[in-house]
Amino acid sequence: MKTSRIFISALLTEAVGILVILVIWGGVSTFYPPYIIPSPVETLKGISSELPVGLSGHLAVTLYRILTGFLIAFLLGTFGGILSMLARADKPVNSLMVALQVVPGTILGVIFLLMFGIGSATPILLVAFLTLPTLAINTTNGISKRNTGTENYLHSIKASKWQIIRYSYLPALVPVIQSNLSLGISMAVKVVVLGEFIGSQDGLGYLLNRARIIFNMQEVFFYLLLLMAFSLAFQAIQSLVFTVSLKKFAYPEAR
């Protein structure tokens, strides 16, 4: 299949979810006046006539924070998960991650705000800290489900530790990485908004908070739509990358 066709197909798959949300949103909006829940059409019409000042700058800042925070969490979570499995310390590391998971985001956000002040540090660290446990737990769970049969075969032909990592651990990581990307980015989008609510004076989260305070629901829904569109595009791109270059690692195991 051509790359462009794969991308469009991935995009369409992701768009189905958005479409369902739009239909439900449209349906619910018929029961409420536009100043409470504007319909998708009213939202787009209203915003297109009056785009918020500096929107592209705010959007860029938010994307930077999402991607930076997510990258930190992704690298720490994935490599931390691998190292904990190799060091056979996955159980204590998992316990630590579960403990981290129960820390409320708002409290953590306030702590980061007091430590680092207003700016990018709070949302980035919030994304990293709140996304990390899920990614680390997902990684250790994924590796623990690797094919031990082929790993035993590698031991029987006296493969080195590195060769066992290369032929057994890394292939088992491919679906884990894909699910980490998919799961992690959605969480990162949600958390960055919280971080910008608490400790920023720019970004979509800040705009969202400002619009929320003055009950400008058209703007609120528009920003939510933007965040959803970003998630959709990201999912479509990662789906494209995995389908084109890493598809064989998803082939079923033939026992």
């Binding site: 032909i157 292939p171 033939a254």
Partner: protein, 233 residues
Amino acid sequence: MTPDTIIKTFELSKTYQSHEVIHNLSFELKRGERIAFFAPSGAGKTTLIHILAGLEPATSGSLLVNETAPVVFFQEPRLFPYMTVEENIKLPWRIKKDSWTIQTQLHYQEWLRVCELNAWKNHYPYQLSGGMRQKAALIRGFLGNPALVLMDEPFQSIGQAAKTTIIEFIKRHYPNLAILMATHSLEEIPLLTDSVYYFVSNQLVTPSKLNSFDFQSLFSGLLNPAPVFVPSH
């Protein structure tokens, strides 16, 4: 122990928690010798193969495997799902960083012909039948000209005609190969091996080796087991 000895065990036992899987097993395998371990399912054959291959330790007793690289054929082909048949077969060379010589290539092509896998060498394991996958695993193991192979039900998914052809090919091309084959298929014993040990539960019933043909006829006459039919896929 003579210099000819390739495997020797003395009172080898294996216990999982309170369940003893292998009980005081003592036997010897010489270079070039081909013996079968005939036992019903669950009698500890796979555990024995794993112990001999160094994949798990024995609980007690002593064990000597006088061969650095015995080739193990597991019950399942254990092919890597993300590699083609050819990539799977060539993997041991990549692991050992050995060069793939012209002789190896010629031998490989002969094996592909015997196993009728030539048209399938660029396919992935999930695209193959169970028998084809098992054949690919056999090629991967035999192509390196091993001195000792440990086989755990190696032909269970391969059809009768193909099995006979492959066994004849092995006997013709590897006359000095030492084979220890664990099986519960009576018909495979005289096809590939010269002698047999018979187990029931975790106990060695025959204290000394029996001739494979004698054992087959004796066992068939005594118990009249149902003919073993392995469907071809």
